[in-house]
């Protein structure tokens, strides 16, 4: 029996979001809520990466 889907959100720190954003989560289905929590935890754990951009010069150098 799965637990409260909001537990995953709390674990991922999403319960501390501003009111407007938290309302979006409250309007998700239980399954979506569980997915969001799990994914956010995984994203938090992933190494941050540089905000790389592509070279906009069409150069072969």
């Amino acid at each position: 029996m799965p637990g409260d889907p909001r537990d995953a959100l709390r674990a991922a720190g999403l319960d501390r979001l501003p009111e407007a954003q938290r309302m979006v989560f409250e309007e998700l289905s239980p399954e979506e809520l569980r997915v969001v929590g799990v994914i956010q935890e995984r994203l938090n754990a992933a190494m941050p990466e540089v905000a790389g951009q592509n070279n906009t010069y069409n150069t072969i150098c």
């Binding site: 309302m23 289905s29 997915v35 799990v38 995984r42 790389g52 906009t56 010069y57 150069t59 150098c61």
Partner: protein, 450 residues
Amino acid sequence: MTEKTGRYFVVSDRTYTDDSGIQVRLVYATRTARLLFVIPQVADALRAGRLDVMSPGMLATLREAQVVVPAEQDELAEVLERDRSAARDRSQVDFILLPTSYCNMGCTYCGQEHVRGGLTADHRDRVRARVLRAARLATTRRLRVDWFGSEPMMGYAIIRDLSKDFVRVAGEAGVEYSSQIVTNGYLLNERNLEVLIKECRVGRFYITLDGPPEIHDVHRPLKSGKGSFWKIVRTVRAALDHPDYQDVVFQFRTNVDVHNQDGVARFIELMAELGFTRPNVHFSLDRVRPWSNDVSAIELAAKDFARRELDWLRLMQELGLPFTRLPHTVQRVTCPAVKAASELISGTGKIFSCTDHPLVPRTEETAALGHIGQDDLPVFRPAGEFDGWYDEIAQGRSWCRDCVFLPTCGGSCPKAWHEGNPPCPSYKHNVQGRLDLAAERIGLRPVQAG
């Protein structure tokens, strides 16, 4: 308000899972360059164009990502108007400066013609005055100066001399200053790196390495005949340990053709072994394409490259080398050639809009929009061949009009379209594999069919 599913998103073909048993699909929203993780029912509903089965929270998320849009919205028109507006913007002024027309390398696939000599003293002063005039305009908020080549480090003294004034005047005018350099890296050393970063405020280095040393040194030989791989790699690797350079980005580009394609995997392994797995390093792989020269004998077909690229990207992911799985910024301005407040000044003082033009003999002769020696030059460059690019897209003169990736790609290279060589990015051909990589990066695995 009536809404519809938009036209600018890609749904993963695969469903992904983990040990907790969640099931997700990925949605890549190209208007906002956002990656969303959704339950399979939402992915199916998006593909079917059904919004009635979605929860209010999911609809809000999709609306924000511009996957769900107002029913009456003409999305192509919105995207093109956003791009036109960015191309007209004069609050950011960009200069691309070629301090010399010479290069110390003679790459096998290069279509440039290298001529010794740099900007004359008079031209240099005129370039300085032109950039400073733009920096002092009341409308200017940001000034970017990019050093480009041939090999810009052949004109290091010019870079240093001009940057000193650019940085000072930008500071006096309250203008945000940034700078990048596209270099082969051979002339970089500890001392000039420090000057470039701290005095000239270069924040990003684009450096090309075409494989492990035995391949790079043949593919990109110095004109002297010597190799360059180890000197470049040692210099940059040492810089990565410098505590003051942690915000400086070193972007390695690999140009791939039939000659070096079999060395790419070994190159990736070597760079990982050497410790280039840092957050301020970035790797990209690019197919060798014509630069007004004939590369048909060595060029890889776009789809073949995209297929092999996926294997290389997967290897980078396994070894921890940073790269871009999918663009995470939208391309509001396709390239400098479509931006009114962007211009290139060549080593001979000619002014161009397109970075491909100045070093190819034919276009160097025919495509200049002005010369730094003219007394009647307007503040911003005269219109060039590509300033109507977004109108061309709207008219269907490329297939970008119907492409889901238009918002992140912008058509890539107007010049290539004009020459009849569609320059589509590789992710157009391997987006599903890249979505797999994005999922696998956070420990999700594909659900096995059946």
